[in-house]
Symmetry: C2
Subunit: 233 residues, 2 copies
DNA sequence: CGCCGCATTATGTGCATACATAAAGCCACG
DNA sequence: CGTGGCTTTATGTATGCACATAATGCGGCG
């Protein structure tokens, strides 16, 4: 059963994946340690380590020092989502992108927004509302609050040529953030802008980004009905 | 500017991230090559390589042989989604999980399903419909088709004790699959089962998994209103 | 002047080795 | 009999080196 030596880490990774899928190593079971596998595969332990690390990143192995590596029992399917700039997303569909700025003003945010962004209740934030278009039709509606203290340049931007979505990604560095997806019924206002029936089910993305302790921007993007977020496993 | 030597790859990674965020290395710009960075940081090139690879995986660097590494211009925010078994998801919320099997029968799938799963139009598939409950209330409704040829054991499972969701993840290996998220209005049937108003906006997950060339299962899970899929950036 | 191919160069990977670190589990001691 | 601490072990990582691979871009040739 000692086939040809598996000398590169991708081969080792693939062989490990095969054994897991084929149940040669059953869920919950401890697999041989790196040194033994290295001997079996005829390669260096470093190579086995690289391979096992890759498998563990996919969630199919649980690794712990001293305890060894065991096959994950209920591997949470992990999907790597790429959330591109909306312009890119539209263009990737072979459609023509455009955007229309609906509103741009300085305003005090509602209490929920102020709390989420951790800014004083009366603080003036920049509010931008804009429609993203694909082939001239509504694609998504964006409702955004920008912390102009964290993003100084934003106050000077009109956002009529470059969308705030895109401008911020290029110009507002962030250290971390959260994204949430949900479904929501279209309000009367949204229905009018997006061009759908009132009460239609909209796919909604909420994103809040931070630069250290300061919030950068909070945005809600409601996509036109039919929008799907796809990914491969 | 030669601070204390950055000897481990995490430090190097963090320093690289800092420089990108601080615009010391501007978007689109070519960064120094690995060898030079290794000299600057006082570590081996291998270590720099490991660090840059990690940054590239986050999407903040584009690396190409010979061309070098350049800072990504529009880094598509990449989020790693973990889609756990529903029972785990509910329990992670500190709620009590239960599930109720609504239907389990062998049937010929509608044409759209047959085509998506690439099975003959008249083929008999196992259909399972079940409700997932949290603290006794509806959490999600699952409508599933199982290819019993690809998953032999499934025909003998009643799915009344262990949900098909969980049983399949443990027992049906797959090589790849697709997931799509969308929003959909609750049909009359769904509304009744989930206990929401008809026409409510539901967050829907569609998953189709494959084992090589054979489809394993196709499932649509509609979550109760208010459900959010969260992830960090 | 244009195009092709090869030299150059930056990243990608494998290996042997050494040491770091976490933690399981045993043993001695109370 | 319980427990704290030490030993052992498996993974984690740093390093120097060598060679693989891709692709750029220059130089030579038609």
């Amino acid at each position: 059963m000692t086939g040809p030596a598996l000398r590169d880490w991708r081969s080792v990774r693939d062989e490990v994946l095969r054994r897991i899928r084929a149940r040669e190593w059953a869920p919950g079971e401890l697999i041989p340690n790196e040194a033994d596998l290295a001997v079996e595969f005829g390669c260096a332990r470093t190579t086995v380590n690289r391979a096992l690390r890759a498998v563990a990143e996919r969630g199919l192995l649980d690794r712990r020092r001293k305890a060894g590596s065991r096959v994950a029992v209920l591997p949470a399917a992990t999907a790597k989502l790429a959330i591109p700039v909306i312009r890119k997303e539209v263009e990737a569909l072979g459609r023509t992108y455009a955007h229309r700025l609906m509103e741009r003003c300085e305003a005090a945010p509602p209490e929920t927004v102020a709390r989420a962004m951790r800014v004083p209740a009366g603080a003036g934030l920049l509010r931008v509302r804009a429609l993203h278009l694909a082939d001239g039709g509504p694609y998504a509606f964006e409702d955004r609050w920008i912390n102009t203290i964290a993003v100084p340049g934003a106050a000077d931007q009109s956002f009529d040529r470059v969308s705030s979505n895109e401008w911020l990604l290029e110009n507002a560095p962030y250290t971390h953030g959260e994204i949430a997806f949900s479904a929501s019924k279209a309000s009367a206002g949204e229905a009018g802008l997006i061009g759908c029936a009132r009460g239609a089910a909209l796919f909604v993305l909420d994103r809040l980004t931070w630069d250290g302790a300061a919030s950068v921007t909070k945005v809600r993007i409601a996509f036109a009905p039919g929008h799907r977020l796809r990914t491969v496993l």
